[in-house]
């Protein structure tokens, strides 16, 4: 492929611009980091904070227990995430049903969503975690991990159902008309035409909720489940040093970064697709 002199010159210019902006970004990041470091370490209380929050020896000692706890968080995250996706899609579909027969179901779905979006997660956790077993019903689990998971599912399903519903409603009515005109019934129209488009549109929002769920999984510790946060608390109580909390926090951040980047990428792709139309 032959390239004209003009194009070669332009490409060289673009490359030099790109190199320059990389260099600028590096330098400014470095300056910023040094400034922040100096500001913190020159604070009068820094030595004490360093010893009780950033003690390497304590961190190292706490790490295995906290990692063990994090493994529990991860399992809770994936099980709850899957359950939430399925239930939320169901609730969203219920809320879009038309027709008098479905009135009670629609009402129930709406009431559920309103209730659990309104109640703070921590209260749902207490009510489900301590209230449910207190009823002494047969079949109700009394494992705090399961109960914590149930509370997370209850709260997050309400949010995610709303995300799905917004997606469903954003699909233009002409798409439904086109599907119905081909003879597809309500269900097939939903399954084959509306939902696939809706899910595509809400993927960035869903990934955001996934990041939020990731850290809220740490809240099951309030029920006594030995997850990363609880493990850190146990270590802290043994050593009177807060470093284990920092370790747990950092691990949660490490967990969140890939999901957050994925959410960004999905949002960019969605924006690009919209713009291309």
């Amino acid at each position: 492929m032959s390239v004209s002199e003009l194009q070669r010159e332009r490409a060289a210019y673009r490359r030099s611009r790109a190199r320059r902006s990389t260099a600028v970004a590096l330098v400014s990041t470095l300056v910023f980091a040094v400034a922040a470091y100096l500001a913190v370490t020159r604070a009068p209380g820094w030595p004490r904070v360093r010893d009780s929050f950033f003690d390497p020896a304590t961190a190292w000692r706490a790490l295995p227990a906290v990692l063990d706890g994090l493994w529990l968080n991860l399992r809770v995250l994936f099980v709850c995430g899957t359950v939430i996706l399925v239930l939320a899609l169901g609730v969203a579909a219920l809320r879009t049903l038309r027709g008098a027969v479905w009135f009670p179901l629609r009402l129930l779905a709406t009431a559920y969503v309103d209730l659990f979006r309104g109640v703070p997660l921590i209260i749902t956790l207490y009510l489900v975690g301590f209230g449910l077993p207190a009823l002494r019903l047969t079949g109700v689990p009394n494992d705090y991990v399961v109960l914590g998971g149930v509370a997370l599912v209850l709260t997050y399903t309400a949010y995610v159902a709303e995300v799905f519903r917004a997606g469903i409603e954003s699909v233009h009515p002409s798409q439904v008309a086109a599907a119905r005109s081909l003879g597809l019934g309500h269900r097939k129209t939903m399954r084959l035409v509306v939902l696939p488009q809706a899910v595509r549109r809400v993927t960035p929002a869903l990934l955001n909720d996934f990041v939020a769920l990731q850290k809220d999984c740490g809240l099951i510790s309030v029920l006594g489940a030995v997850d990363a946060v609880r493990a850190a608390q146990i270590e802290q109580a043994a050593s009177y040093n807060f470093t284990p909390y920092v370790v747990a926090g950092l691990l949660f951040v490490l967990l969140a970064v890939p999901s957050a980047r994925l959410a960004d990428a999905a949002a960019r792709r969605a924006a690009h697709r919209q713009g291309a139309r």
Binding site: A177, S181, L182, G183, L184, Q197
Partner: protein, 249 residues
């Protein structure tokens, strides 16, 4: 005489208080091409949507092959399976390839095995000069190509009746020709067609009968030579004069 494929009886459609269709009577016989003309807002699209049962009627009947399909006890999906409609704005499914758009109804509604549905779809596509685009997504196609895919989608299950709503209005003048040639070919093959159009020259060539719709009433109908040549109604004359002045005849 045999029963018409489509027979519209006293059709009334209102949006809120506004009456958009005001007692329309219309027959379309087998192999006939009936063209709806009329100014913007006269109710052409609404009539086609009512025939396809996409709107609830306020009065009157839609009779398909002798059965009243507008009866609330009848299954509208069953009636729609026998009609194909092509919308003014294509309404292709953006998340499916061209091939999947076309084979959706045969596979999911008519129970045709995928392989057979795809064979039919590919035949339709090559007839329309789109064989190379089977695996593309609709947003990769030009307007004229999208419109032809929409027509292929409506033809894929061999409907009794084809409803076309201004299939050229969203197209550049250059692309209008391709789509009109396709419709002419379908008409020549004996397809039963009810279509709305602003292309008067085309209507004149392809129509067996032209119906002039004005304010939701069908006020004049007849063979194209008569409606365009010696219109009986004053409103028709006015409409045609305006069109002629705009240079569209």
């Amino acid at each position: 005489m045999t029963t018409p494929v489509l027979s519209v009886r006293g059709l009334v459609k209102r949006y809120q208080q506004r009456t958009v269709l005001d007692g329309v009577d219309l027959d379309v016989r087998e192999h006939e091409v009936v063209v709806l003309i009329g100014s913007s807002g006269s109710g052409k699209s609404t009539l086609l949507r009512c025939v396809n049962l996409l709107e609830e009627l306020d009065d009157g009947q839609v009779v398909l092959d002798g059965t009243d399909v507008s009866d609330p006890r009848a299954d509208p999906d069953a009636a729609r399976r026998r009609m194909g409609i092509v919308f003014q704005a294509f309404n292709l499914f953006p998340h499916m390839t061209v091939l999947d758009n076309i084979t959706l109804a045969p596979r999911e509604v008519h129970g045709t095995p995928r392989a057979a549905a795809e064979r039919t779809a590919r035949e339709l596509l090559s007839r329309m000069g789109l064989a190379a685009h089977a695996a593309d997504y609709p947003d990769r196609l030009s307007g004229g190509q999208q419109q032809r895919v929409a027509i292929a989608r409506a033809l894929a299950y061999s409907p009794r009746l084809l409803l076309l709503d201004e299939v050229t209005s969203a197209l550049d003048p250059e692309l209008v020709g391709e789509v009109l040639a396709l419709v002419r070919e379908l008409a020549a093959q004996g397809m039963t067609i009810l279509m709305a159009t602003h292309e008067m020259g085309f209507a004149r060539q392809v129509a067996d009968r032209v119906c002039f719709l004005d304010g939701g009433r069908l006020i004049e109908e007849g063979p194209p030579d008569q409606v365009f040549g010696t219109p009986r109604h004053e409103r028709t004359r006015q409409f045609l004069r305006r069109i002629t002045e705009a240079g569209r005849l």
